[in-house]
């Protein structure tokens, strides 16, 4: 079963999304509530996909993905960004950062599930 790592500092939000991913998608879910914990868990849990918030304490999403890409063991894990801003400069930054996709909060749940499925399939999971 594919394993997904959720990284976002909104605890309630993470719990809700984790619930949906496990219940309707059948995924194995691991959670982290800030950038540093996210990196730690990416290395220890070897997830197949990371859903990553941008504006977070300790390390923001851009820093996290930079470090993920910079390390052999985590470089190939695809990342879907959670954006809370639809400013063009944010979206450009997101694309340039090397994420596989992004989704803007708030979103329609089926859209997230489809993006996850697509990215996992693309990465042969």
């Amino acid at each position: 079963m594919a394993k997904i790592l959720l990284v976002d500092d909104e605890i309630e939000f993470v719990e809700m999304i984790a619930f949906r991913l496990a219940k309707t998608g059948g995924y194995d879910v691991v959670s982290a509530y800030d950038g540093e914990e996210g990196l730690r868990k990416a290395r220890s849990e070897h997830p197949d996909l990371i859903i990553l918030d941008i504006w977070m304490p300790k390390k923001d999403g851009y820093q996290v993905i930079k470090e993920l890409k910079g390390s052999e063991e985590t470089a190939r894990i695809p990342v879907i960004f959670l954006a809370a801003s639809n400013l063009p400069q944010t979206l450009e930054k997101v694309k340039a950062a090397g994420g596989a996709d992004y989704i803007l909060k708030p979103f329609d749940p089926p859209v997230l599930m489809t993006k996850i499925k697509t990215v996992l399939e693309k990465n042969n999971v």
């Binding site: 619930f19 949906r20 809370a84 639809n86 063009p88 708030p106 979103f107 749940p109």
Partner: protein
């Protein structure tokens, strides 16, 4: 000399304040989105029955909640868009493209809504080829806004999209046989948040910002927009796009 220096200082101070205001709006929008995302996800899950079965009446109420969450999101987006326009932060990506083809795309998107309402949707330039230099996405936004509005405020008859070539500019028209606008309201049509008098029919509630954003976008292209209308006699929105890159 002193007068000139003062003017320069005012301009840059004005820009700095506009910048700060935009940052403020960004921060607040972010704050609005986060709990909105929680409400949307949480309610969706309950409505989908993921936490136990739900009766019909509760489900209806929760569907209302979801609609309102979406409405709040739309308004938040519109506020951000408008704020960026005001602070001059929208950068146009001008490309050479066929505006007739774009119109066709947009009109096609509205065909079903027009049909559902029993309205005729006429596009007089849709078969042609008219090349313009402009930001394609922003022009699409303008067209979607004007045509959507026309359909919303028309109960019988038609909405017609046309383009004429003038010397030096293209003139784009979206006309409808709808309810029209009262004389005293005409000057306010492009003001932000004006949703005067007219009561829209069923369907998504507007944000009140649409036309002010449209005006901003048209003017950023160096064009002008105006409206001709009479209560009970329909409306005609006309905007121009200069043919060459005008400064």
């Amino acid at each position: 000399m002193i007068g000139v220096i003062l003017v320069f200082r005012d301009i840059s101070e004005g820009r700095r304040l506009a910048q700060q205001e935009t940052e403020f709006v960004n921060t607040v929008s972010h704050e609005l989105r986060t709990p909105l995302a929680i409400v949307k996800e949480g309610i969706s899950q309950v409505v989908e029955g993921l936490h136990g079965e739900l009766g019909a009446e509760p489900k209806d109420y929760l569907d209302t909640v979801l609609r309102n969450v979406d409405r709040l999101s739309r308004i938040t987006n519109a506020i951000l868009d408008f704020s960026r326009l005001e602070s001059g932060k929208v950068v146009l990506k001008k490309v050479l493209f066929d505006i007739a083809e774009l119109s066709n795309e947009v009109v096609t998107g509205f065909r079903q809504s027009a049909k559902d309402k029993g309205l005729e949707l006429r596009c007089l330039i849709c078969g042609e080829k008219v090349m313009v230099l402009a930001d394609r996405d922003k022009i699409a936004e303008i067209l979607v806004n004007l045509i959507g509005n026309a359909l919303k405020f028309t109960d019988h008859g038609y909405v017609e999209v046309a383009l004429t070539e003038q010397a030096g500019a293209f003139e784009f028209t979206v006309a409808d046989s709808g309810r029209g606008i009262a004389q005293e309201d005409l000057p306010k049509v492009f003001n932000k948040f004006e949703q005067f008098g007219r009561v829209a029919g069923p369907g998504e509630k507007g944000t009140g910002l649409g036309l002010s954003i449209v005006k901003g976008l048209v003017e950023q292209h160096g064009g002008r927009i105006r409206v001709e209308s009479e209560l009970g006699k329909g409306s005609k929105f006309i905007f121009t796009l200069p043919k060459k890159d005008e400064k």
